[in-house]
Amino acid sequence: MAHGPRSWHAAAEAVLLPTGALAAALLAFGVFVWFGGYSPVETWTLLFRGAFGDAFSWQNTMQRAAPLMLTALAVALPARAGLTVIGGEGALVLGALGCAGLPYLMPLPEGTPGSALVLLAGAAFGAVWLALAGAMRQWRGVNETISSLLLGYIAIALFKHFVEGPMRDPASLNKPSTRPLAEGLRIGPIAPDSLLGDVHWGLVIGLVLCVVAGIWLSFTASGFALRIVGGNPRTARLVGLPTDRLVVAACAAGGACAGLAGAVEVAAVHTAANASVIAGLGYTGILVSFVARHNPWAIPPVALLFGGFAAAGSLLQRRLGLPDASVLVLQGFAFVFILAAEALRGRLFQLQMPTMARLRLVVPAGGAKA
């Protein structure tokens, strides 16, 4: 019955809590569609068939997971430094603008060096954008969550201004776009003739950056310093860490990832910057990062899962006639349950009746929140 925490409890909780929360979210989503007169079982089946049912849906899923890994890193890296930066969407659209805009400014070499340059331009735009949020927080005390979201709206306005104004391609009639990237600058599929099909190099970029971020945080001195800053800023100052610089660097690194996501979307999928880039990938990235508990090693599988749900969305729409926002509802439920599950961390294996009673929503005086 009553026993203290065992060494394996933390590891088991790290897997059980998110899994349980996601299961609860799926259950709630089933109940939700059932109220609308749809069959929950059919919805769940289609959700998984559309995400992981066959080679084609796997391809679709991986295509969508690639930018999610990058936008999730944009939340995860600042989060490890103690900041809740959620402006990934803004950094992403500016990255797309930078990628599509570089050929306007200078002649670029064809092939890999040219592609690398447009991608770097996107990453640089994103990095500057989120570094702004970090800098405003460190030097002016402006809440970074609010400022990064406001920066996101400003970024989208800038994007629309340039795409529909100075940078508009006169040939894009119905849908204002920039001039398409030259053939030689685009990013192609990894292995077009294999099972991978259309899956482009963006997936590799996402995976590699998740690993790099994981190694940085886990195995390097500066990554360790960053985690100290995030864990206890006062201690960090006390031992003389360059707190401000570390925080801004984490934000810039995250912004670079989100900017890269936008650049990859342009260079591999849309070939030009237009409104299709503003698809909420930055917002889904927030959810992915929270589910992965801001751990870069856990981001790829979580991104794959939510990329899969997004891929299944169109199948749900076609087969059952569910509105296209149903995936958004599922994501919202998942976010709520993931946060609620945090309340159980460290006590999942200690749950007994008195604890259950304590967990009642209004914690009485002197309760756990004290």
């Binding site: 402006v142 969550t145 529909e164 509105p323 995936v327 976010f335 209004v362």
Partner: protein, 306 residues
């Protein structure tokens, strides 16, 4: 531009300040109440979208616009109470919950609001305060959303209640010192859940003003950050309901510049002018915040003012 054109522009901005500022007013009052109790609800952005949809649906289905307004308030309160309950769990951050609520509110609104995109619902009546004037521009600028005077009255009532009523003092105590509230035998979480829920109801009225007055229809791009701006606006207003009124009008005016310029024929930089309120918010945050001290008037328990 001639003097006449300038006058028209100014009039359009003044009229727009009330028209665009009404949702800001309600959301910032709701947020003000929530933050006074010691929690920040970033999810009011989601509450705004969801209640706009619910209000429009209620007015469309019942044919009575005030039923729609009521439904908007109730649905806003329901969504906000979810925030209040979640944040009462141990180790759940109010900022993260707010982000979740933003996504959930938008998702639910887009899902349930799908069939509401085409139809027309009855609208909130306008009060013709400009009837004395013969000029149609003055008349249109001074024809005011009937919710606006309610918002003004609410702002004044809240300012009075925070100073003079038992409930106002309890809310402020929970926001300034949870220890004191606990020592006097009040459940801090219960106070905060109640304040968050009531704040959600008020913010929901702002949603009704969006979908039932201006722009006056339901679509998925209805709210783009107004809820969030309102959160920043409360910081600017230093947690005082009267100052929320002034700030909401200022921001409404900033938001009206783009459409006003367009109405007198200046079309360039349309998107940039529309981004004015966001830039203004950032500028104001930069000017009012400081890393050295917490802002004057901030509830002590609030994380956002640090």
């Amino acid at each position: 531009m001639s003097a006449d054109a300038w006058f028209d522009l100014l009039l359009a901005i003044v009229g727009g300040a009330v028209r665009v500022g009404t949702p800001f007013l309600f959301v910032s009052l709701g947020e003000c109440l929530t933050e006074k109790s010691g929690r920040i609800n970033l999810g009011l952005e989601g509450v705004l979208v969801f209640s706009a949809m619910a209000g429009f649906g209620g007015a469309y289905l019942s044919g009575n616009v005030w039923l729609g307004v009521l439904l908007a308030g109730v649905s806003g309160a329901a969504l906000a109470s979810l925030h209040g309950l979640l944040c009462s769990l141990p180790r759940v951050s109010d900022i993260a919950t707010g982000i979740a609520l933003m996504l959930l509110g938008a998702g639910l609104a887009f899902y349930l609001g799908k069939p509401l995109i085409q139809p027309q619902a009855p609208q909130i009546p306008s009060l013709a305060l400009g009837a004395w004037s013969a000029s149609p521009q003055v008349q249109s600028a001074l024809s005011i959303n009937a919710l606006f005077p309610i918002g003004v009255a609410l702002a004044l009532a809240m300012a009075w209640a925070f100073r003079n009523t038992r409930f106002g003092l309890i809310v402020r105590m929970a926001g300034d010192s949870s220890d004191a509230a606990r020592a006097l035998g009040y459940s801090v979480n219960a106070v905060r859940i109640a304040a968050t829920t009531a704040g959600g109801f008020i913010a929901g009225l702002g949603g009704a003003s969006l979908s039932l007055y201006y722009p006056g229809s339901w679509n998925e791009g209805l709210s783009s950050g107004q809820g969030l701006i309102a959160v920043a606006l409360v910081i600017f207003a230093r947690w005082s309901p009267q100052r929320c009124l002034g700030a909401a009008l200022l921001f409404g005016g900033a938001g009206a510049i783009g459409p006003a310029l367009q109405s007198v024929g200046v079309g360039g930089g349309y998107y940039l002018f529309n981004a004015m309120p966001y830039a203004l918010t950032l500028a104001i945050l930069l000017a009012t915040c400081s890393p050295k001290r917490s802002i004057k008037g901030a509830p002590m328990e609030l994380g956002v003012s640090r």
